[in-house]
């Protein structure tokens, strides 16, 4: 593997972590991290879709007309989501039930459309695949961290194993919606501290990642 592709791969995991640094894909991050197992399931499913769509879009980048590229990307992504949905349903039915509504909603996950728009339609197939794997691992790891914190604090277990003894009452609010918002807020604050210590500024993806940017009057004003 070339040095630059390796860099692209690592970039997605740490420097441009899609969830914690770019703050994309917040809906699944909040909704599916009440248990670590679901978090990993979501991460792997989204990574698979991202890998397929990045490869396909970078292969088709010269064929798809610029004006209708967003609808084309959405149809491609929706197709891959359907395929991944079938695979999950066949081989991991319990994960399929747990992901429920959020599995088809991978279509509108901004990470996937964002990477198509920001990376895959400008770069080679190999680089796009590396980018997808890096971003996917970054997404999955973040979900795993959040899922672990919420499951350990909220249920006293980790992947179903008892971690905190029975005598300690778990804070069940952590597995409920408010806990999701809270832990996510704290994690982003931690990343802010790390970025501040390194003297780096948060790389704001802003409207560049938004598929509607060119129709949106507010994009030129620097965001919503």
């Amino acid at each position: 593997m070339k040095q630059s592709n390796w860099k692209v791969l690592l970039n997605g995991i740490i420097k441009e972590n899609p969830v914690l640094v770019l703050v994309l894909g917040t809906c699944p991050t909040l909704a599916l991290t009440s248990l670590a197992v679901n978090a990993v399931g979501m991460g792997v499913a989204a990574t698979a879709v991202l890998l397929c769509s990045n490869i396909a879009i970078s292969l088709l980048k010269n064929i798809i007309p610029d004006k209708v590229r967003i609808p084309c990307y959405i149809v491609l992504i929706a197709g891959f989501v359907t395929i991944v949905g079938f695979v999950v349903q066949a081989y991991a039915p319990s994960i399929y039930d747990a992901l429920g509504l959020y599995l088809p909603l991978i279509v509108v996950n901004c990470i996937i459309l964002g990477r198509a728009e920001m990376f895959a339609n400008k770069n080679s197939v190999l680089a796009s695949a590396c980018d997808a794997i890096g971003m996917g691992i970054g997404f999955t790891l973040t979900l795993l961290v959040m899922g672990s914190i919420r499951e350990i604090l909220g249920a006293g277990t980790w992947f179903g194993w008892q971690v905190i003894p029975d005598a300690v009452t778990p804070m069940s609010i952590m597995t409920q919606p408010p806990g999701g918002f809270f832990i996510f807020g704290v994690l982003i604050a931690v990343v802010n501290v790390i970025l501040a210590k390194k003297g780096k500024k948060r790389k704001v993806s802003g409207c560049g990642a938004c598929p509607s940017a060119e129709h949106c009057a507010k994009a030129s004003e620097g965001g919503c």
Partner: protein, 199 residues
């Protein structure tokens, strides 16, 4: 009477107990992005209610009369997202041509809605919950109103949070999320309301 009661239960459940933003985590991007000012949160919410109702009115018949009879259920995701995208474009064009004043108020928010997971979420949910057409429409209305309620409430919370002095690392997104967590706690209080009202 029973159908009325049933519809009312669906409506109130969708607005309060199963609030799309604070309970189901759908539509978080506009919730965090557009809720800075009261007028923009109202504009966005009205546009969302509008598109949710329209897309339910189109996707429900297509699923029941086209996809189900011909065993094409697996095309659901692809068809629904295409319908929503086309519908948003159509609504925008029609508004621009015939009701320019409304287009001016909502136009900015319409393109953002295509990739809003709340809209795709509500249309899929209506099918998986096996709602009738009336129930599906009421559920979409409730989801939209719940979205609006959370957006409007939160824009007030947010303007307060931004004017306070907070630690540097919590500025911006983190404090917004923590505030959202507290609003979500408030909404958890509604969890018994429906049972209590319609026992």
């Amino acid at each position: 009477m029973d159908t009325m009661k049933n519809l009312l239960v669906i409506l109130i459940t969708a607005i309060l107990t199963n609030n799309f933003i604070l309970n189901k985590f759908l539509g978080i991007c506009p919730f965090l992005g557009v809720s800075k000012k009261l007028d923009s949160s109202v504009g966005m919410s009205v546009a969302v209610i509008f598109v949710m109702l329209m897309s339910t009115a189109v996707t429900w018949p297509i699923q029941i009369y086209l996809l189900d009879p011909y065993n094409l259920g697996y095309l659901q995701t692809v068809i629904f997202i295409l319908i929503i995208a086309a519908l948003v474009q159509l609504i925008e064009t029609i508004l621009k041509k015939f009701i320019p004043s409304l287009h001016q108020a909502l136009g900015v928010y319409l393109p953002l809605i295509t990739t809003n997971c709340a809209v795709l979420g509500v249309t899929i949910l209506n099918i998986t919950e096996k709602y009738s057409f009336g129930e599906a429409m009421v559920n979409s209305l409730g989801a939209g109103l719940g979205f609006m309620l959370a957006m409007v409430l939160f824009s007030g919370v947010r303007s307060r949070a931004e004017s306070e002095s907070i630690p540097a690392c919590f500025k911006g997104m983190p404090i917004t999320l923590v505030a959202a967590s507290i609003v979500a706690v408030a909404f958890m209080g509604f969890s018994g309301v429906v049972d209590g009202l319609f026992k």
